[in-house]
């Protein structure tokens, strides 16, 4: 059965981006990906019906993940956003301050991320229905 959820993944590390992209494609998600903040933001703005969930790296050239989270949450406060980071406490604190739903520290296990996404999406669905 096709997975109806659309997710956006942004990471400037192409290797991680590819792994995430392929993993969630296999899980039948509708995946869009970008390797920097500006391209990610453009995809986000161009998607008419919006995404169901956004995964973003934090420290990136031009537009950082913190900026992405802030912009996404201003427009859609209920859209789940997961931050992934390998840069220590400061970016992490900023991600939480900008209301990221979850922060994953690199390296992490893909099934854990997968489970977190399933939980966030089902919570959102329950909220949308209520």
């Amino acid at each position: 059965m096709a997975n109806p959820y659309k997710i956006l993944i942004i990471d400037d590390n192409e290797e991680i981006l590819n792994v995430l992209y392929n993993f969630f494609r296999k899980k039948k998600y509708d995946v869009a990906s970008a390797s920097n903040g500006l391209d990610g933001l453009k995809l986000f703005e161009a998607e008419k019906d919006g995404f169901d969930l956004v995964i973003t790296d934090l420290v990136m050239p031009n537009i950082s993940g913190v900026a992405i989270i802030t912009i996404v949450k201003r427009k859609y406060p209920d859209m789940p956003v997961i931050a992934i980071t390998g840069w220590g406490e400061h970016p992490e604190a900023l991600a939480i301050e900008s209301h990221a739903d979850l922060v994953f520290k690199k390296p992490f296990e893909l099934p854990e991320l997968d489970k977190a996404i399933t939980d966030l999406l089902s919570k959102k669905k329950a909220k949308d229905l209520s």
Binding site: L38, K42, N62, I63, S64, A67, T70, H90, L94
Partner: protein, 343 residues
């Protein structure tokens, strides 16, 4: 009309796109780039493209003021806060409320002031000197620097927490020499502006030959330097003269860029030879092949002798044997060529 961003290089096109997407967000921005690339132009462009247009745009240069003065400029003070504070002074954070505060040369801010800035960015509040009451401020902070902040971070000259809080959005402007395709457009743009400013003058566009020279120059002062050259050209109304004035530096710059790519230890004599030639113009009277030969020989001998002395642990008689010269000659060479043992 706001400032115009001139250029069709990838870097400038990307910056234009960035401005379009982030000007409305009010998120902290750091603009980086060498001196003279136009960091303030980008800051103004961001302001003009934002909903804050029409509100104050306040600029302060963090490198131009001593620490104490910069602090009182940023946060202001109450009457009687210190000796000489006869009147209350509003800080830039107060004046820039609802507008933009452009912090130029942020990399030169002292560590202690950095922590005060961090406090404002975290809380949106600040207290003027001598006041216990915090004032709320809604200021969009755009910072600029020609420093490599990542390097300053490693050297402990820039606070890590402030770095991440400011670098929510990064805009890097490439130096002019890396976006040569923008030079003709900039020239055309500024000639038009300056021709209208200097009424009696009318500078024509540079011809192909002159343009080639302008394109091959390395422009260490970037767009600001280009502007100055164009202003001078308009006043003198003579391209040939202007080009003549800095063609020596064009040639030297080219040679510098050639020699700097070579491993220095292997090519020192060649590089010196080129410099020697450059220094000699326009006074050809002192030019002599003999001099050049001597210069090169000295350099090579100095390097060879130093190398051998280094290998022998400065054992001169061993070194003389290896070099196949007499002990006396070696001593003479050491003194003549100014060869010193390592410290």
């Amino acid at each position: 009309m706001g400032p115009t961003l001139i250029g069709t290089s990838k870097n400038i096109i990307r910056i234009k796109e960035l401005i379009k997407h982030v000007a409305g967000t009010g998120l902290n921005i750091v603009i980086s780039g060498e001196t003279g690339v136009g960091k303030e132009v980008i800051a103004q462009k961001l302001y003009e493209s934002s909903p804050r247009k029409g509100k104050p745009f306040i600029k302060i240069n963090c490198a131009a003021l001593p620490e104490g003065l910069l602090e009182s400029e940023l946060f202001g003070y109450e009457r009687g806060a210190f000796t000489g504070a006869e009147r209350k002074k509003r800080g830039k954070f107060k004046i820039a409320h609802e507008g933009v505060l452009f912090l130029d040369e942020i990399g030169d801010m002292s560590i202690s002031l950095q922590s005060k800035l961090l406090h404002v960015l975290q809380s949106g509040e600040f207290a003027p000197l001598g006041s216990e009451k915090e004032i709320r401020t809604d200021t969009w902070v755009i910072a600029a620097t020609n420093h490599d902040l990542e390097q300053d971070l490693k050297n402990g000259k820039f606070r890590e927490d402030l770095y991440y809080r400011l670098n929510i959005i990064k805009i890097h402007i490439s130096p002019l020499r890396e976006r040569v395709e923008d030079i003709p457009l900039l020239i055309e743009y500024y000639i038009k502006i300056y021709n209208s400013q200097f009424v009696s003058k009318n500078l024509i566009k540079p011809n192909k030959n002159i343009m080639e020279k302008l394109l091959s120059y390395h422009w260490p002062g970037n767009v600001r330097q280009l502007q100055n050259v164009l202003k001078r050209s308009i006043v003198l109304n003579d391209w040939e003269k202007i080009i003549g004035e800095f063609s020596t530096s064009i040639d030297n710059a080219k040679k510098d860029s050639i020699t700097s790519k070579l491993p220095p230890e292997k090519f020192t004599p060649v590089a010196d030879f080129i410099n020697f030639e450059g220094e000699n113009s326009p006074d050809l009277a002192s030019f002599s092949l003999k001099k050049i030969r001597k210069n090169i020989t000295d350099k090579v001998e100095k390097e060879a002798i130093s190398y051998v002395l280094g290998k022998t642990g400065w054992n001169r008689s061993n070194a003389a044997k290896i070099l196949k010269i007499s002990y006396k000659t070696l001593l003479y060479k050491i003194s003549d060529l100014n060869i010193a043992p390592p410290q």
